[in-house]
């Protein structure tokens, strides 16, 4: 293309200008994307911690129930025995073992058949089977759990390891049911063996869909290599947590015949998991953290299988607990639930509902007391899979990648050799074969976070509207952005950048104020059956998870059904505890109409399913195909 000189310079000048303009815009685009990524992360994290705070609320409801059940003259659901019933084992050990051996596995079962004591053939068979999405037969699960329980009984609370023979130990954090991450770790780092020892630092189950497969694999390796495979207990290795966060459901779905017995055995196994591991007398590994009361020597003497971290906090049927048991419980909860914080001191972890926030001074004191140099813990999701704090004296290691959403974070593991200098290895599981661009990934994660946030807003709609209206004296439907942000922050109690999020949640009117009603527009309730008043629907929606847990506890044989009377009494107690006025007639009507086949029992899963919400925009998208 021939251009004469003057044209060429002006062309060059224009090109330069154009380039600069594009580059400017690009940088702005990237910065904005980064901001969206960050607040998405904040949203996920806040909601997760708020969920765990709800757990605290649940325990206060249990206390309330226990206080009030006597007033019901024994007409209430037999919740006390339900809650406190530790697994009563009428069978002796030998009889149990025989019983499992006698379970017949049909010819048509094509999965792995384990033989005890386990060998490498068995673990390889398990890994292959799970990669092919097969399920291990209930018989072998029971046998595996039984053997694991026997094995764990003779383990101490605190396990002392050494890195002699120049061995490197691999330390993994939370897996939360993500089999893909476990398989990825084994692929990158090799299977556990005498030359390749592993420590898994708790929270193997819940949230992810393959918790059963994970514990089967971990326990199998534990039995195969007892000296080179070590598992610490996490706060999710607890049957109440499992009720809330999905593991119980997963087991019951995969094991219709043997599920109940498997869950009972699991309760025992979890309570027998060791609490801490120490490497070379220098590195302490626990799931959550520590408190200013933590003492490893005391911890070694605790009868760990008797400590029920969740329930014991409010059970007070007997005369006041002996002080020692109280302290034991406290120490164990601290180990499983605490989080590090940046300020000095040790304060109660109200967010989680258990354990402490421990500062750098607490870490320093503990390390000094026991002549240690490093604390490795998990329990918190980190964007890069790991994070250091307290001047490098505390490492958080988290091994479930994409924990909140596809692309949200990496997973990581640590390798530690005799020189005790940690090396970090990161990874991220990717489900899609088509590589998503950064923009697409952020968009997906952000969409998911915002949807969850909107549900939170919806769940507290009445409270929010009442608070908005206090600022809206003239009833215009609008308040300023500051007022809107203030209300939302105080009602939801989530520490988020509300002003930055506002454009994604609520509409502005022409005069620059926020139309506060618009933040509920995207969500509509599903069709609740039976039909109830909007207030009741909102209450049911908000406490759906809690109710599910309570019903599951009442439903001892995990049949999915409870009696009408139990339903009625529970519901009555719950609403009176919440201070929600619901008259008897409404409850009776509701109970009667849910009992579809009029046989006196209620399928509570169906009932709760009715109280979910629909995101209008999702529906629209689906309709547009």
């Amino acid at each position: 293309m021939r251009i004469n000189c003057s044209n060429r310079t002006s062309l060059k000048g224009r090109s330069m200008k154009a380039a600069i303009l594009i580059q400017r815009w690009y940088r702005r685009y990237v910065a904005h994307l980064e901001m969206r990524r960050r607040y998405t992360w904040n949203i996920f994290q806040s909601i997760e911690y708020a969920g765990e705070q709800d757990q605290l609320q649940l325990s206060s409801f249990f206390s309330f129930m226990l206080d009030n059940v006597t007033q019901m003259n024994g007409n209430g659901p037999d919740l006390i025995s339900h809650l406190l019933d530790s697994v009563v084992d009428p069978l002796t050990e030998e009889v149990r073992q025989l019983k499992y051996e006698q379970i017949v596995v049909s010819e048509s079962y094509s999965g792995p058949r384990l033989s005890f004591p386990l060998s490498v053939t068995d673990t390889n068979a398990l890994l292959s089977a799970f990669k092919e999405e097969q399920t291990l037969h209930g018989k072998y699960v029971l046998q595996l759990l039984y053997e694991t329980k026997k094995f764990l009984k003779q383990m101490p609370n605190v396990i002392y390891l050494s890195t002699s023979y120049a061995k490197e130990i691999t330390i993994c954090g939370d897996l939360h049911g993500s089999l893909d991450d476990l398989l990825l770790i084994f692929y990158k780092n090799g299977l556990p063996s005498a030359e390749n020892p592993y420590i898994f630092n708790g929270d193997f189950v819940d949230r992810g869909k393959k918790s059963t497969e994970i514990i089967i694999i971990l326990f199998a390796f534990l039995l195969l290599y007892p000296d080179h495979m070590h598992l610490n207990r996490g706060n999710h290795e607890d049957h109440i947590m499992n009720l809330r966060y999905g593991f119980t459901k997963e087991v019951m779905q995969k094991y219709k015949t043997h599920g109940r017995e498997i869950l009972q055995l699991l309760q025992d196994v979890f309570s027998l998991l060791p609490l801490a591991t120490v490497i070379d007398n220098k590195v302490l590994i626990v799931h959550g953290g520590i408190s200013d009361k933590t003492d490893l020597d005391f911890l070694s003497t605790v009868e760990r299988h008797k400590v029920v971290p969740f329930l014991d906090s409010f059970v007070s049927l007997e005369p006041p607990e002996p002080p020692r048991e109280e302290l034991e419980w406290q120490q164990v909860v601290d180990i499983l639930w605490s989080d590090p914080k940046n300020q000095n001191g040790c304060s109660l972890n109200s967010f989680r509902g258990g354990g402490c926030y421990f500062g750098p001074d607490v870490t320093q004191a503990l390390l000094q007391k026991h002549d240690l140099c490093l604390l490795i813990r998990s329990h918190e999701c980190k964007q890069e899979g790991y994070e250091l704090c307290h001047n490098g004296q505390v490492i958080t290691i988290f091994s479930a990648s994409n924990y909140y959403e596809e692309g949200s974070n990496r997973g990581a593991y640590i390798k530690l050799g005799p020189e005790l200098v940690p090396r970090f290895f990161q990874y991220q599981v990717s489900r899609s074969t088509r590589k998503l661009t950064l923009h697409q990934r952020v968009r997906v994660a952000e969409g998911s976070a915002l949807r969850a946030l909107k549900e939170k807003l919806y769940a507290q709609r009445s409270e929010l509207m009442a608070a908005f209206q206090q600022y809206d004296i003239d009833n215009t439907g609008r308040i300023s952005t500051s007022e809107w942000a203030q209300v939302v922050e105080s009602v939801l109690r989530l520490d988020l950048p509300w002003r930055t999020l506002r454009p994604r949640l609520a509409r502005l009117s022409a005069d620059g104020n926020v139309e506060y009603g618009s933040c509920f527009e995207d969500i509509s309730p599903g069709e609740p059956i039976p039909p109830v008043t909007p207030n009741l629907a909102e209450t049911l929606y908000r406490y759906r998870t809690d109710l599910e847990i309570i019903f599951n506890i009442i439903d001892k044989d995990h049949s999915g059904q409870i009696s009408i009377e139990e339903f009625r009494q529970t519901w009555k107690l719950f609403t009176s505890h919440l201070g929600v006025a619901v008259n008897d007639q409404t409850i009776d009507d509701m109970a009667r109409s849910i009992d579809f086949n009029k046989d006196g029992s209620i399928d509570f899963n169906e009932f709760l399913e009715a109280f979910r919400v629909v995101h209008k925009l999702d529906v629209k998208e689906q309709q547009q195909g």
Binding site: A18, R28, G447
Partner: protein, 174 residues
Amino acid sequence: MAPKKKEEPKPAPAPKPPEPEPPKEPEFNPAEVKDAFQLFDRTPTNEMKITYAQCGDLIRALGQNPTNAEVMHVLGKPKAEEMQVKMLDFEQFLPIHQHICKAKDRGTFEDFVEGLRVFDKEGNGTVMGAELRHVLATLGEKMKEDEVEQLMAGQEDANGCINYEAFVKHIMAG
């Protein structure tokens, strides 16, 4: 319990899940700036400080689009090695942000399209992806290869051409 609202025409429903709103007039609301500032604060003790290097990003995240030169200028032309080390707290950041907000010549959608039209050799609404890459990497405030890649990901058609109006909408929406 719906509040009494004046009948106001609702904005047309977005065809997709709500896009981020297009850049508005600069707002001097310090509370809003503070929210974003906190998001970028990476100090381990939440001291409400950001590095000089983050300053440009934060200004851009807040809706402005200065050039790198403009950012460096308003920061007092720091040396390269200072960028990751020197910190700004919120009080120091506010006036810097306000200064950038006041600057004229922000560049509109039309300016942007004009700019790209320069490279539209055939005048048919498309530019050659390869040429654009070259320009962005060699002219002006040069972009690195991976930055260019990220920008252009998924934008080129089978012939390596980019429909630039769509491209501009894509950039401005982000």
